[in-house]
């Protein structure tokens, strides 16, 4: 073969190979089906815009309180606009509101933990309905915080609670806010701090369910009792209501009691458990003095006090467990399965009465699955969490399918499905976990957003999608990119919350508060110096504070404004001091003076002469 012929053949070969590759490529990669891929769910723009548009100056219909996950915050959104209204810092300092910089909030946060993984916000309830008083939020290091909805401020952080390890299963309230329940996700040898080798996991490690008592007047939380549980991983809870009032339900995984790579080792059995806890009976047992003191806490062993805990077999590795508004059904699903199970509370009670058990775990009876279930609803892949609407409507999130299925209690058939983008975890329906859900709106709290937004680099935001559930056909309305990480949220009608807008002067009981410029100034006792400062447009009085090196200085700033939105800041440069004082509030900070001259100024823009609102801390040599 001459060179030319060879070249011609090569060219033909190259062309045919290329053509083959093109054919092969088109055969092997069909274009994405409609409604899938990066486009994800879409909506009718005109309908969606009308339904969600809140004109300038108009107000939203609902508040949504969304957990901020490991940001340690609560994020407040307005619905249906999905606008971010406010951030409530809880478990971590938040310079924007000065949280964690003044003496009081610094003491509340403590100095051991500077973060918290917040999961499940819980609005206080009366008769199973939101009463608009408090919002509770748990975090994984065994703590629960209380936010007062009168001023949207964190008022108490309780814990870390002894024996609890990995407080994921919280903060779930009983229907009259009698108790907040907590549970261990990661069983450990108890009391916390004691040792047992990992190969003794199945016998020496223990799960714990704890109840915090809530003072009905102040909302103050205090540890009431704990229940000793087998070493499973307790995940999510929901309290019984109406028909099932007095009970608490907790999902768990790892009934294998396995260690190592749990994604495999804890997925061997077909069923895990929902623990049904008779909290009222447990409270009575604790009052009788049952149980033992472990780690300084009364811990009741349900094997020794029968009737407190029963295990309901459920599809493996369940996440959410949700009690229907009438309290008659308990909805739980194995998150690796395609069905969700509706358990009938009445049948649960009958099975308990008849001792219809199929085994036990450490002396805790396991009820017979077939005897207590009413139906398995074929919702789709990866059912995680169910929320409710009026008229028996239920909405189940499908993590694997990236969709939400709607169905009706009693009919047990899927009515509609809406794709969401993407990988939905929890759902929040308007008042969807109360005794009287509103319907109207459902929010899909998605784990992945996969670029349905202007790119902001690899650290992509989470997404929360608003869905219209006003009619049987669900309609996607709006994509919001919510602050990380929305594990769970609650949506409450706006007219149930009545916040104040300034702190009334009469209510200020701070011992260092002053209201008249004449009363400001610096006093000294030994090396302790107290400066009473007034912040009012546009001066921080006094404008100079003179102290001596090494003095222990307390600066108390009173914002004497009674006008809404007239916040003042007090930042002291080079001292890591950053206060924000709301109208009518006094905040104090204590520090040791170091030599030099340090400016302080108002950080929170207040007035035309805000920039001039400044002064000096003048520290003389000793």
């Amino acid at each position: 073969m001459d060179k030319h012929r060879l070249a011609r053949v090569s060219t033909w070969l190259a062309i045919s190979a290329g053509a083959f590759l093109v054919l092969a490529y088109s055969a092997c990669s069909p274009s994405a089906p409609p409604g899938s891929g990066r486009a994800g769910g879409s909506s009718d723009a005109a309908i969606a815009a009308q339904r969600t548009y809140v004109a300038p100056g108009d107000l939203d219909e609902y508040y949504m309180f969304s957990s901020g996950g490991h940001s340690g915050n609560i994020y407040v959104y307005g619905l249906p606009s999905m606008r971010h209204l406010s951030t409530i810092p809880v478990f971590t300092p938040y310079p924007a509101t000065g949280y964690g910089f003044d003496d009081e909030s610094k003491a509340m946060l403590g100095d051991k933990l500077t973060w918290g993984d917040a999961h499940h916000p819980a609005l206080s309830e009366t008769g199973g309905d939101y009463d608009g008083r408090w919002l509770f939020i748990n975090e994984m290091n065994g703590r629960v915080a209380r936010i007062d909805l009168r001023d949207f401020k964190t008022k108490q952080i309780y814990g870390p609670v002894p024996n609890i390890s990995g407080n994921h299963g919280s903060s779930f309230l009983t229907p009259n806010t009698e108790y907040i329940m907590m549970a261990s996700r990661f069983s450990i040898p108890i009391p916390k701090g004691s040792y047992a080798p990992i190969d003794k996991y199945a016998t020496e490690y223990k799960g714990v369910i704890a109840a915090l008592k809530v003072d009905p007047q102040s909302g103050n939380m205090d540890l009431a009792f704990q229940i000793l549980m087998p070493p499973l991983d307790y995940d999510i809870g929901d309290s019984g209501k109406v028909a099932s009032d007095g009970w608490m339900f907790y999902t768990s995984y790892n009934s294998e009691r396995a260690t190592g790579p749990l994604e495999v080792t804890a997925s061997q059995r077909d069923r895990d458990y929902i623990a049904a806890v008779n909290w009222r009976a447990a409270a009575e047992a604790a009052a009788r003095g049952e149980g033992d003191m472990i780690g300084g806490v009364r811990v009741i062993d349900p094997a020794k006090v029968p009737g407190l805990v029963y295990l309901m077999p459920c599809g493996k590795s369940p996440h959410g467990v949700d009690v229907s508004p009438d309290g008659k059904y308990i909805i739980g699903s194995g998150k690796l399965q395609g069905v969700t199970t509706a358990f009938n509370f009445e049948k649960v009670q009958t099975a308990i009465r008849n001792k219809d058990f199929e085994g036990d775990e450490d002396g805790i009876p396991v009820l017979t699955y077939e005897s207590i279930k009413d139906a398995e609803v074929e919702v789709g892949l990866g059912p995680l969490h169910t929320q409710f609407g009026p008229d028996g409507m239920a909405y189940t999130s499908l993590f694997v399918d990236s969709a939400i299925a709607s169905w009706r209690i009693g009919e047990w058939k899927v009515i509609d499905k809406v794709p969401v983008s993407y990988a939905v975890g929890h759902l929040a329906a308007a008042e969807g976990d109360t005794v009287s859900p509103d319907g109207n709106f459902l929010v899909s709290l998605n784990k992945l957003s996969h670029g349905r937004h202007l790119s902001v680099g690899p650290s992509q935001p989470e997404s929360s999608q608003l869905i219209d559930i006003g009619e049987e056909k669900m309609k996607l309305l709006y994509d919001a990119f919510t602050e990380p990480e929305p594990h769970y949220a609650q949506i409450v009608k706006a007219d149930k919350i009545h916040p104040i807008e300034v702190y009334p002067k009469e209510e200020n009981t701070h011992p260092l508060a002053v209201w008249d410029l004449k009363d400001t100034g610096v006093t000294r006792v030994g090396n302790r110096v107290t400066a009473k400062v007034i912040a009012v447009r546009s001066t921080l009085t006094p404008t100079a504070i003179e102290v001596t090196e090494g003095d222990i200085v307390t600066i108390a700033v009173t914002n004497i404004e009674q006008t809404t939105d007239e916040l003042h800041g007090f930042a002291l440069l080079d001292y890591n001091i950053n206060l924000v004082v709301d109208p009518g509030e006094t905040k104090q900070v204590t520090f040791v003076a170091k030599m030099g001259v340090y400016p302080y100024y108002c950080t929170n823009f207040c007035s035309a002469l805000h920039q001039e609102m400044q002064g000096y801390l003048i520290v003389k040599p000793r």
Partner: protein, 213 residues
């Protein structure tokens, strides 16, 4: 004595009828009522005060809207232009006005009881004088507060007089100033006094004609 003066003097001592007395009695009641009602109101709108700042002026007090907060806010804003605080203790009016109103009411009652035209004229003249003086005093106070501005003020503005009646734009504020129920009660009293006086005078006229014939 010229006959006209003699006639007038005689007339002044004639007793008046029931209707004029009733008018004066009602006027006395209205004057007392005015004490309990706001006399004047200033309402100030600005972009950042969509609900307005409101100030009610009584004969004995200044009352800010929003539970008194608006007065504090007005003072706070005015300090930027070097205006003195509107403080109740700085207004002598608030001491003498209730006293004067009470005095007027007593004068009216005196006229009703003694019932000669002389008392009616006395009371009417005092009332008109009081009303005119009060209005002047109010206007003068507005002028002084708007002109006695501290020379060291952060924001230097030319002296100004807030509106006494109607609308005026002052910097970023739209200021509306209107009389309130108390002033309307006083106006009602003026009408009653005028009517009463007129009726009394006319009645005297008839009586006088009768005597002269």
């Amino acid at each position: 004595m010229p006959p006209i003066l003699e006639r007038t003097a005689r007339r002044l001592h004639r007793p008046v009828g029931g209707w004029p007395r009733l008018c004066f009695l009602l006027a006395a009641i209205l004057v007392v009522t005015a004490h309990f009602l706001p006399l004047w109101n200033l309402t100030m709108f600005a972009p950042q005060y969509p609900d307005a700042l409101r100030l009610d002026i009584f004969d004995h007090a200044l009352v800010g809207g929003n539970g008194g907060q608006d007065l504090k806010e007005i003072n706070l804003l005015n300090h930027y232009i070097g205006m003195r605080d509107l403080a109740i203790e700085d207004f002598t009016e608030f001491q003498w006005m209730p006293f004067a109103l009470g005095g007027l009411a007593l004068l009216f009652v005196r006229a009703v009881v003694f019932g000669t035209l002389k008392e009616f004229v006395d009371a009417s003249v005092m009332f008109v004088y009081f009303g005119a003086f009060s209005l002047w005093s109010f206007g003068y106070k507005l002028y002084r507060y708007g002109h006695d501005l501290a020379p060291t003020a952060a924001v230097r503005v030319d002296g100004f007089t807030p509106p006494m009646f109607g609308h005026k734009a002052i910097a970023n504020f739209d200021v509306y100033s209107y009389p309130q129920a108390g002033t309307y009660a006083m106006l009602g009293a003026i009408l009653l006094v005028g009517t009463g006086l007129w009726m009394a005078w006319r009645a005297e006229d008839d009586v006088g004609t009768g005597v002269s014939t």
